[in-house]
Symmetry: C2
Subunit: 399 residues, 2 copies
Amino acid sequence: MITVEEANAIILAQTMRLETDWAPIATAVGRILAEDLVADRDFPPFDRVSMDGIAIRHASFAAGQFHFPIEGVAAAGAPQVSLNDATACLEVMTGAMLPLHTDTVIRYEDLTIADGEARLTVTDVKAGQNIHRQGLDRLKGEVIVPAGRLISAAEIGLAATLGKSMLRVRRLPKVAVVVNGNELVGIGEEPLPYQIRQSNNYALRALMSRWGVQADMEYLPDNEDIIALQLRRMLDQYEVVVLCGGVSKGKFDFLPASLEKLGVSRLFHRVAQRPGQPFWFGIHPDLNRVIFAFPGNPVSAFMNTIRYFQPWLYASSGLNTLPALHAVLAEEVNFKPDLTYFMQVKVHSDTDGRLIATPLQGKGSGDLANLTDADAFLELPRGKEVYQAGEVFRLWGYR
Amino acid sequence: MITVEEANAIILAQTMRLETDWAPIATAVGRILAEDLVADRDFPPFDRVSMDGIAIRHASFAAGQFHFPIEGVAAAGAPQVSLNDATACLEVMTGAMLPLHTDTVIRYEDLTIADGEARLTVTDVKAGQNIHRQGLDRLKGEVIVPAGRLISAAEIGLAATLGKSMLRVRRLPKVAVVVNGNELVGIGEEPLPYQIRQSNNYALRALMSRWGVQADMEYLPDNEDIIALQLRRMLDQYEVVVLCGGVSKGKFDFLPASLEKLGVSRLFHRVAQRPGQPFWFGIHPDLNRVIFAFPGNPVSAFMNTIRYFQPWLYASSGLNTLPALHAVLAEEVNFKPDLTYFMQVKVHSDTDGRLIATPLQGKGSGDLANLTDADAFLELPRGKEVYQAGEVFRLWGYR
């Protein structure tokens, strides 16, 4: 049995080098950028008026002038205009090019206009004020966003400004989420007393959808021959196979042996953690496949997907950092087994700016309903039995 | 000019009562649940074996018995079996119904099996152990998730277990995101020196897509007649019109007057905040429309959408709580104007479990590139000039 840290390191050593793909910016949020976003012009591309008002030469003001005859208007979206008389002014609109021969903008709030003349109502006018200078934010050719960024709405706005309707992003892997067990029936069916409906495939697909992956769902019964046949097909069809169930010590837990017969190398089986201890992980070196085989208990499969599949996916996508969250344990927790305990918690942000994690332990790894009450898992590392209120641990959220 | 708090209250008084809609569970993550999710059976639906091993009568163990002849196997997904001889055992698999006449499960790790007999290797066996009792998690008829919840992957897993392939969710409003200004060209076009490409519509649509809304994009030039004509159509076609630009003091800022001519009641214009001060908000009472008209600077439009549109949307969708985040200001900030300052910040979670917000102020509300460096806005309330390092404020994130 290996530790959580060892399991994580083994998994991250098996990241795929996913190639690049194109995504329209309408759907690129949540994908990983695979190109640098570079300024195609200066930002702003010209000396840009940043307040509605008038543009003057500051020297005229400095010389004591308070009235400025209005020569005309500089509108946003119009070619640059020019001030002819150095003692006059031009009305200027936010977003317009600063007129030639002017250097200072005075906003409407600070003047009155009458009889074709603007008259200042303030005495403090700084040279160069209310102008967003060409290139002040970024210079043409500068990298604004480097490749490897998780794309948010901010990057979409920038891409639009750069004229990019498509973005180079990392391709997503082809993933199957497979549930296993004779006790499972489809969600459209009425279960017999000893049956339950499939749910891990839906829950894990939903988790992955928030990370950009559209997984397919599959089902395997507890039948060695069918498992062998279907797994062979899945290894052919999918780059990542995420299995739930059939990896423990049961008489019908055929998955590890079946996978190994198909050429999958086991890299580990069993991790010193609760829930999710029987987690099995392997690769098919010839086909370049990665296989996560999680225990079938809903809390185990859910936690393992967040804790292990998610970092693997982001590392495979070239994400340059996956920010870690930490939270304060709200109350003392006793946990005797020498295992890392992924405790279900409810999280809130307190008025000291801390994330507070309140235990909501539920009734064990089969307690699916408890997942809907909790928000996250708090990772309590092994090696002690008492976790004090106020201690801080790594948080793995799903809301 | 009103305060941020007043603006927020006025907006939240104009929430729509969005009716319910159906969403397939494949796409329901991120929507607001509009029905209670109720246990259709007990959770678990039967006394469920929770470890692979053997099932016995505890009384036999208590009477000193350590060897148990194996009568057969209880598999998951099979009808309940029965122990015939009270001194024997049945092999039982995780997920199986506990066999009749047994009450305790001993896991394989704690026994050896040879010659058709299981022999205990431990001396501590608790009556009832390793059984997940029927109804322990939830009882049939219990509300597991109340309506008004933002749906996560956990609720999807639960819905599958309940046999619900479709969920009642709140309908999403029909939203247009409209950019305005003669300086704007399409993202496929090469801008002239005094032009820039449209970006607010893309950025705001991307923000909204993370909240479930699929907004349409529209454009308005600085032309009063076209604005009147197009706004009339949009008020007809959309329930929410989000405008960017044309609301300040410029000569071509036609939007407020045009909206009022079309029967839109202004509820406020100008909010004591930076960025985004010229924010205009109104409703069309007859058509039951809501109009957010933001200034056109990219940072202003982006911030206002997060700070005002988002809470309006969630309140209209019946979300029962929008959790607030708070973060610690990392360094002293001086800000003299008597305005609430939405400062752009980079956020990280420190090892004390605190969210730390580091100022990344950028070059003002026109600095789109700075949004891609930052993660969030920190809301520094008006009424003081110095915000100390270590003080805690409300955080509005977009990553």
